[in-house]
């Protein structure tokens, strides 16, 4: 016999019935497709709103949110380039470390400048 309050027992019965049905609904491909369309509509509405606010802000010579987003993307692209260059330098360094001593690049030593 359950010691749960009556209201809780009623809730548990309802949840037991409804829970799996809700889960099956939200896990279906059909639901994902519908949600995808809803996301697309929402994104479209947001970009339209952004377009209008951008025109308004640009008319006052002010930067809009999309300008900042473009800047962030450009910084991101730059960051990716730096990462890729870093990996190349690391690979070269590894190659150099593993190379036989005779093949290693000569280390440059600065000579004191004649005065």
């Amino acid at each position: 016999m359950s010691h749960e309050p009556v209201l809780r027992q009623i809730y548990d019965r309802v949840a037991e019935e409804l829970g799996p049905q809700l889960s099956n609904l939200t896990a279906s491909d059909r639901f994902a497709e519908v949600a995808g369309v809803a996301d697309a509509v929402r994104n479209r509405a947001a970009s339209e709103l952004q377009r209008r606010s951008r025109r308004l802000l640009h008319a006052w010579n002010l930067p809009a949110g999309t300008d900042i987003a473009v800047l962030r993307q450009e910084i991101g692209a730059l960051d990716r380039t730096v990462r890729s260059l870093t990996r190349e330098v690391e690979a070269l360094q590894r190659k150099l470390d593993n190379a036989p001593t005779s093949q290693k690049a000569p280390t440059t030593r600065s000579r004191p400048r004649a005065r």
């Binding site: 309050p5 949840a15 889960s23 949600a35 993307q73 990996r87």
Partner: protein, 351 residues
């Protein structure tokens, strides 16, 4: 009765007003290294008598603070108290620069970098890799794809290698329409995807449980801690999302052994190190059926599964975890570890 009503009223008010938000991740730690945005942390401890060190690998969709929620309710604390040297990879929130990160970025670059760093910095030479949820999948792919990586043991928790609902949650149509201005999948979409796995629980049952036990200070605090973390999702790297969605397009490539990482075909049979899979019997995000094939797939001779009556987070968070699952994990790791001062002779490169 009056006292209980008073507590209920006070906790309700605090909950609704957001007063007294618990502070998370209080265990002292040191930043040991960074690679791009990825951070490698080492937790401070006076007693690191067990080796190899344990490297925690979090999923890409939530913050790793769940490993160290609060004093007394922290996996990190349990591992440190047991004598392990505990490290953690923090992926950080992906930005525009991370939108092109693929599974190769994580499995062939970041994880091997972290493993090498821990193996070297700790002086042990090898690590126990410990992955949670998608972090478990990343760890598996990384170990299978990089056999010379110095991993001595592999532990995966709630790792959905055969998710029945994968295609619906990461439906290509939904993902394609959902990238944000940074080129990543927005955190909000990740949150709704998780909610949709069990909407009844997420929308109603959690709140009903909270209301029923609102006079229990400890329960209310624990509920707030887990809920705050659970709602604090982070963006998911765009290219990785596309790659995972593609891997599910015609079946399950990882399961079928046709998944390719950096051009190499990945066979989980290449995982040869001692292996433990921890499965929560009440886990609705990574149900037992989604983790079950692991034992057959990995090639390790020493492999086992630890089943515990817990949910996705309850595997290592909360009082029940402290009594059952965490001691089980510690026991297995201890049996597969040695003295930090005198490492066992078998210690070497796994794979």
């Amino acid at each position: 009765m009056l006292e209980s009503t008073g507590r209920r009223l006070r906790n309700t008010a605090r909950y609704l007003l957001g007063v007294g938000e618990p502070e998370l991740g209080q265990s002292p730690r040191q930043l040991v290294g960074t690679r791009d945005k990825v951070k490698l942390w080492r937790y401070e401890s006076d007693d690191r008598h067990l080796a190899p060190p344990v490297l925690l690998v979090m999923s890409l969709v939530t913050k790793p603070v769940v490993f160290d929620l609060q004093p007394g309710n922290s996996l990190v604390e349990h591992f440190c108290n047991a004598g392990f040297d505990v490290w953690m990879i923090d992926w950080d929130e992906p930005g525009p620069a991370d939108a092109e990160n693929t599974l190769e970025t994580y499995c062939d670059d970041y994880i091997p970098w972290a493993v090498e760093s821990v193996a070297t910095e700790s002086g042990c030479g090898t690590v126990t890799l410990f992955g949670y949820c998608l972090g478990g999948v990343l760890s598996l792919l990384s170990v299978a794809g990089n056999p010379t990586m110095p991993v001595e043991n592999l532990v995966v928790l709630a790792t959905p290698i055969a998710p029945e609902r994968g295609p619906a949650q990461l439906h290509p149509g939904r993902i394609a329409a959902s990238f944000d201005e940074t080129g990543n999948v927005p955190a909000e979409l990740i949150r709704t995807a998780f909610v949709s796995l069990d909407p009844m629980d997420a929308w109603f049952t959690g709140r009903v449980n909270l209301w029923q036990r609102m006079d229990n200070d400890q329960f209310v605090m624990a509920h707030r801690v887990v809920t705050n973390w659970g709602n604090d999702h982070i963006r998911f790297p765009g290219a990785t999302a596309r790659q995972i969605a593609a891997s599910f397009r015609d079946g399950n490539q990882i399961l079928e052994g046709t998944f390719r990482l950096g051009g190499r075909r990945i066979d989980l049979g290449a995982v040869a190190v001692p292996f433990l899979s921890v499965v929560g019997e009440r886990d609705h995000m990574a149900p037992p059926a989604s983790s079950e094939p692991l034992l057959d797939l990995v090639g390790s001779e020493d492999k086992s599964e630890l089943r515990v009556p817990a949910g996705h987070v309850g595997l290592f968070v909360g009082g029940s975890a402290a009594k059952h699952s965490i001691p089980g994990m510690i026991e297995w790791m201890r049996a597969h570890s040695g003295d930090a001062e005198r490492p066992p002779a078998k210690r070497g490169r796994g794979g």
